[in-house]
Symmetry: C2
């Protein structure tokens, strides 16, 4: 086999397979041989499309990041909602996405992987917080649905916390504990004039943490 007419398919195959394997076994424990066996490609094929094993990891991470960013942007630009409502929508989407898209099952992998962890933290603090959560907070302040003195810090805290308690592996919890955390979270945001979690989202989170 040579001079495949659709090399992009090969790239996608490598990416899909690698993502699955990284997820199952973790990055370090996934060897190139594993990817070779699963794709039935040769070492040369893989190294023709990617400079290194790490390059595959970064490409996988980028794909996931773009997916998330697209959803955040869509909500940010939606019309006819107050800032507080957009925040609630963002939260709802994040939860449902985690649930349906299997992202929840990726989180342990993300956190256990140093490079991903760094990327994730960086994307929260340098991308998600300033470019998505912060504008929405400012909108909410402008339309009166939110009143915060330090929106920059609040944006970071909201994202970091939501990220942390969504992690079912680091935080295996009973439904009661999950509800208590949601209550605490609502109490926290209430001082800024809004409630982040409605009953439906809380139910979804509880269901999500039980898996």
């Amino acid at each position: 086999m040579a001079r495949n007419k659709h090399p992009e398919q090969t790239v996608q195959l490598i990416l899909d397979t690698a993502a699955k394997l990284f997820l199952q076994k973790g990055y370090d424990k996934t060897t190139l041989q594993d990817i070779i066996d699963a794709t039935h490609l040769s070492k040369g094929a893989i190294y023709h499309h990617f400079a290194s094993k790490e390059a595959i990891l970064i490409a996988v991470a980028d794909r996931m990041g773009e997916h998330n960013t697209a959803i955040l942007a869509e909500i940010r630009d939606r019309k006819g909602l107050t800032g507080a409502e957009k925040l609630r929508e963002m939260c709802r989407s994040a939860v449902l996405l985690s649930f349906q898209g299997g992202i929840v099952h990726m989180l342990p992998f993300l956190i256990e992987n140093p490079r991903f962890m760094a990327l994730q933290m960086q994307s929260i603090l340098e991308e998600a917080a300033p470019h998505y959560a912060l504008p929405i907070l400012r909108e909410g302040i402008a339309d009166g649905s939110i009143h915060a003195d330090y929106p920059e810090q609040l944006a970071e805290v909201l994202l970091l916390l939501s990220d942390l308690w969504l992690h079912p592996v680091l935080r295996p919890s009973t439904p009661e504990q999950v509800r208590a955390r949601c209550d605490f979270y609502n109490q926290f945001t209430r001082q800024y004039g809004f409630e982040l979690l409605d009953e439906d989202i809380i139910d979804a989170i509880v269901a999500l943490c039980r898996t």
Copy 2:
């Protein structure tokens, strides 16, 4: 050389050297050959005392954890302070310890290392929060210096946040940003009836983030 009369010294030598190297170069990039070269021991010597490279890592982590725990316990058991004052002391010690003991320089290493990260998270959520921060919070509630409806969640948030913004590598910040974060943090704790950070600690944190 054989049948050393003080094998514990060898163990300490390995631990000290490994800790230094892990800190400088990270765990993954530190090879056994590096440790062998630095200690002038043989591979056999190291594998006589440790089952694997990972076992060395865990031993290093344990030593550090014990050190931290001892300090937390000392403050928790101190007499004649309100709960809020103990929290302040805990925070002050953590900052000064980070500054003087070089722990700050270890944090990037800790966070970049998945196993340490998991251990650290676990120790915060399963050790530090329930066994140290939570009792102090309850003390504060009892003596009236703190009023929190969800002390469990508050303990976790305090520790997770303090851990996050103490990290200078993930969060390179200007002095102004650091002060704004401290203000936000005080505003956050003020709703529970106390201020966590006094001027001295804030100055120390600012100085610490500048290094």
